[in-house]
Amino acid sequence: MRLIWLLLITTPAFAREWTREGGAAMKFQAELRGIDGPNVLLRAPDGRTAAFPLAQFAAVDRDYVRARLPGLVLDAMTPPNVGQKAGAGWGRPLSVDPADSAVSETSDGFHSKHFAFQTTEKLPPTTQRDLAEACEVIHEIFRVAPWGVLATPTHEGHFRIALLPQGEIDANRNVFDKDGTLRIPIGAAGLQQLGGEWVRDERPEAGRHLKEFVAYMLQRDVIGLVPPWLPDALADCIAEIPTVGGTAWCAEVPAKLQSTAKPSAAEVEKLFVRGEPASFSKEHALAVVHGFTRLLDGRRARQITNMLRQAMQDRPKWEAFEEDAQKYDADWDKLKKLPGAQKLDDGSYRFPPGTHVPEAPKPPHAFEKGDDLPWLLLPLLLEQKTPSAVAAEISAQLAK
């Protein structure tokens, strides 16, 4: 706790240089205090305060005000609902416990409670903390959601994020390593270089990539066991949740949905029918996830929760099954090579009496081909209703 306290009290009153272009043009140092209608309220280092029309300032100053204001308000209030019960649902805003975002340095970077950051760049402590907070709040969004965190930490209790120098990007490479490490360019992590130092990029849109990737990372265990559009759309949906610092407002309608047309029942239904992997629209998938997470069953989100939890429970069983299946195949290969083995016309084998024939492993759910796996749990989402009935229900809810 001591560390956080220090961070809080040493965060300096942030005086910066302002460039006034209209009126009497000038540059001066001041700290942002707020806005009043079209005027920006500033405090000079000597304590004097003044209001100026914001329109008289350079574009970079106006952007700064727009981006900094929510944080300014948040700093003045008590963060709401710190440490809610796991699975409490998205009905109320949530805040990360500041202790979770406190960072400690490691040999190759630093880590917070749930994330380990790997980087060769030297990041100032405040930037490390901002970055940790941006990731921890996504973790908290999952933890409070009825379905919980959908991934198991891969690196000694942490999810690992590698921040790559800008040049080191291979566009063809998966952003996730085989070991589950998220590899993103440092510039896509909501950071910008100012005066040779990496600091948080205050523009609201700057951190979106990071939010989306982390949201995807925290669903790693269900990927492949739920329809392919779902993890993408849930990550998109979570990236749309407004966050300021470590506080998130999960009940807000995604801004993206407010500007796009609501999908019709027929368009929703397409998502429930197995098709070409790329045949769904991202906007429609987002709308449907919004429907399942917030509209159909309120904050309990029963249908999607049942499916995601089942997938989460199935994951180890499928892994065990895969192991067993490999062993079974290997055993069979050996059996087939036994001297007394005889292949019959119908493709089956006959072995000498007394040979131990292994029993085929039982999958968690019956399936025919590997491609079936993402669709096996669909009935949990639809709850015995026909795809078209559920589609109609969702489309009607969205239209409201």
Binding site: G37, P38, L41, P53, L54, A55, Q56, V73, M77
Partner: protein, 460 residues
Amino acid sequence: MMKKSLFCLLLASTAFSAEIRPWTDARGNQTQAVLRGFDGGDVLLQNAEGKTLRVPIKNLSADDQGHVVLNISTLIDPSAAPISSTPLPVSVPVMARTTWPASLTAPDGLTNADYVELQSKPGRHLYRSRRFEYVLHAQDKLTPAVMKDVARVFEGTYELLSQSPLGVQAQPVNGYFRAELYQTMDTYHAAGGPPGSGGVYVRDEKVFKVPLDSLGLKRGTNGYTRDDNFELKTLVHEITHMMMHDILPLLPRWLIEGSAEYVECIPYKSGTFRHSDLLASVQRYNKDRLSGRYRLSGPPLDFIRNIIRPPLARKAGEIRYDWGETSPVPQVGFYHSSMLLTYYFMHLDGDGKGTRLLKFLDAIRAEQPKHTAFVKQFEAYRASMDEFLKKPEVKKLPDGRFEYPNYLKAPEAPQPPHPDYLTERLGHIHMGILLDGRTDAQLQQEAATALLKLSIQANP
């Protein structure tokens, strides 16, 4: 108000208006207001009366706190360009009431008529009060007492209108409404002040211009000071136009001038508007104008029928319609008739509560965003048409038409939301609400009868 240009292109800002919502404090008290800003730890709210409330954020309900965090940035439009190009959208919604305040004194923040002198050099002096910026083009300053009075009239009229059925429908430019004051009639005329006028609101520039002469000011040793004719009341008329800027193109001309005359008629003395004494003032107004130098303009009531009749649709190329030039009603008679008809609709028509007029104004306010959007489209069309006509392949024919090869495509004109949008009849598209099934003659009859009961008499 003076009109300019063939087509009144007002580029109202893409008015972002924050929603009016209920706010709840720690004690459970609720108030309706819009989010206006944030200062230190306090949220700034503005209630429907235009009053600014300051509430520590910690005293607001959790929902309200979240609303502030998530919406505070939307008060700032990132696309707002620096000074003097586009007006900065402000978060003030249309403020209007269904009734007039009986008396309005020294409104919020004006008890001491706060104003600041920003810049002062011979020839140009800049002042600001809460919502207005004043540029005085004169050798000397105004004396503090006079400047205080001027600021009080401007701010007071704003407050009065914001609490009235007429409402405030105008966005300041860069945070302030602008007024330019001129030392002499000559400089006023040179700056575009029309001859014979004592002040003008130039709609296209969103600027109020007035010569000091018409305020009754004389040069003293410490700057401009009052003379025997000191009268700031004339400002009220133009300020009213200024505060209704966004809906002016959608109003019939008689209501534009009638409402300004009406507000000017409300008795005003040192910062107090007394609407409760309006009737006596209107009776006096009527009597004065039926005698003395106005007499020749004739009894006004006969003209009601004329002034509400929409202008005839004109053919392209015809000169601009203007009441002063082509109407049978002389200007003074027109203002007079307009004023009485406005008074009638505000207080006498139908149920006596101005219900039809309120409905009419609501319809105009609802129409305004459509109009603004159309004007933008139309401007874009005009610009692309100009570009098109510059192409070497496009040839002008003697009859005014154009000829161009068919591989070129002429820009298409946007479809107006109403056929009268591009005509002088724009201000009349909602007149049906006011007439409410009555003919012009019936309205004339009803209005004359009702006014006569109040001894507001025609043909004395």
